[in-house]
Amino acid sequence: MKKLHQITNHVLALVILFTWVFTSCNSGGRSSKKAADSLDVSTDNAAIYDDIKKAETIFYTLPSPLESAMLIKSAGALFDDRLLNPIENTKNYSTNKSLALNLGIYTCDLSFASLYDQTQLIINYMNAAKSMADGLGILDVIQQEDIDRLEENIHNTEVIMEIVSQTYLNSNSYLEDNNQSAIASIVLTGGWLEGLYISTQLVDMKDFNGNKLVGRIIDQKLSIDILMNLLGDSRGHPAIDEVYSQISRVKTVFDKITLKTTPVKAEYDQVADVTILKSQVQSDLTPAVFKELSDTVAEIRASFIR
């Protein structure tokens, strides 16, 4: 009887250990300490990862589709619906990988259409995103009432942005809460690459120097290591390994760009009630490297939407 009791205690300990591991590893863009030990960091941002071993919980965050679309618009770029993934393609996606990638892609296209008041496209792309979410079994992430609310507020950009943000939050949190971090990472990758694809395609090479949109594209170099770390946490998953290998090609091109940043000084602005982080940055992106980046991104994006 005593022996049976001991066995029960051992198994109970194992169950508790399992639970701890489960609850520690299933939240958004989050990694365990072990995964973070093998970081591959470019020299520009190497120092930021040096203290990483201190924390048990690490979040890697990419610009969301809404933020990417806002960056494109704030750079003064014009809307071009030919750059979006046609909604007719929704029927081509049946694997978890293609559904996840295109959930991110359609959400980015939806965000882009929303910020440029493309009313019919907003409805179409919300339905396309819903179709991807349904395919992934993400329950109730986009409900009919969301689409109805969208239609009722089709000229109210603020409400539309709120709905887009909410649906993206729901899909990510659903995947994270249901232990599908790998799929969540693929959704984030799809959204990020689509933003980069649209940006690179919108750059007018005749207006390359001093182009604000080119500046925003260079900024994505700061996010590529975050994305590699995020995907790196789920290596071994066949779909992730494929995506990781493709994104590595984008990193190879970004590694050809040097960013030099002056030390950051934080100053509080009493009038605006905001802290201003003062610094200056210089980069050496040439048209040739930009072309290589643009071509690489276009090629990978074409494979994602195929």
Binding site: A47, I48, F59, L277
Partner: protein, 147 residues
């Protein structure tokens, strides 16, 4: 045979409990943290975790020079105060909520885009000997075009 049945029930209960904690965390993030973004647009990303007192979490994110940002960090009432510190790429401290009376939000803008590291820590309570408290901590970002 009975032991296997009991273990199956126990495993199921533990699994349901873990799922319930996650759902609770998401509900807390949406109910408590999201409204603190105020007039800023939530970026749509979800970062929440159950942390134990004394535990730290880190977040890496790129922030852009064209935007105004609000960072909102909330912890459930079951845990002691949550503090956060923002570092630049050279590990310099740019902001510490401890020096601002443990505020839950921070508004900032950047002259040049930067990757920042945010370290979140649940302070340890002084009542030693008791089981460490745990609760949900949520991190949210709002943005708007620089005004």
């Amino acid at each position: 045979m009975k032991i296997y049945r009991n273990l199956s029930i126990l495993t199921l209960l533990v699994f349901i409990s873990a799922m319930s904690l996650n759902a609770q965390c998401k509900a807390f993030a949406k109910r408590t943290c999201l409204p603190e973004l105020g007039s800023y647009t939530h970026d749509g990303n979800y970062h929440a975790a159950v942390l134990v007192e004394g535990e730290e979490a880190e977040l890496f994110k790129t922030f852009y020079s064209d935007m105004d940002y609000r960072l909102s960090i909330c912890g459930e009432e079951t845990i002691p105060q949550v503090e956060f510190t923002v570092y630049d790429a050279n590990r310099n401290v740019l902001y510490s909520s401890r020096e601002a009376n443990f505020v839950r939000t921070w508004d900032f803008r950047l002259e040049a885009s930067q990757q920042l590291r945010i370290v979140i820590k649940v302070n340890a309570a002084s009542n030693q000997g008791n089981t460490p408290a745990s609760g949900c901590v949520s991190i949210m970002f709002g943005f708007r075009i620089k005004q």
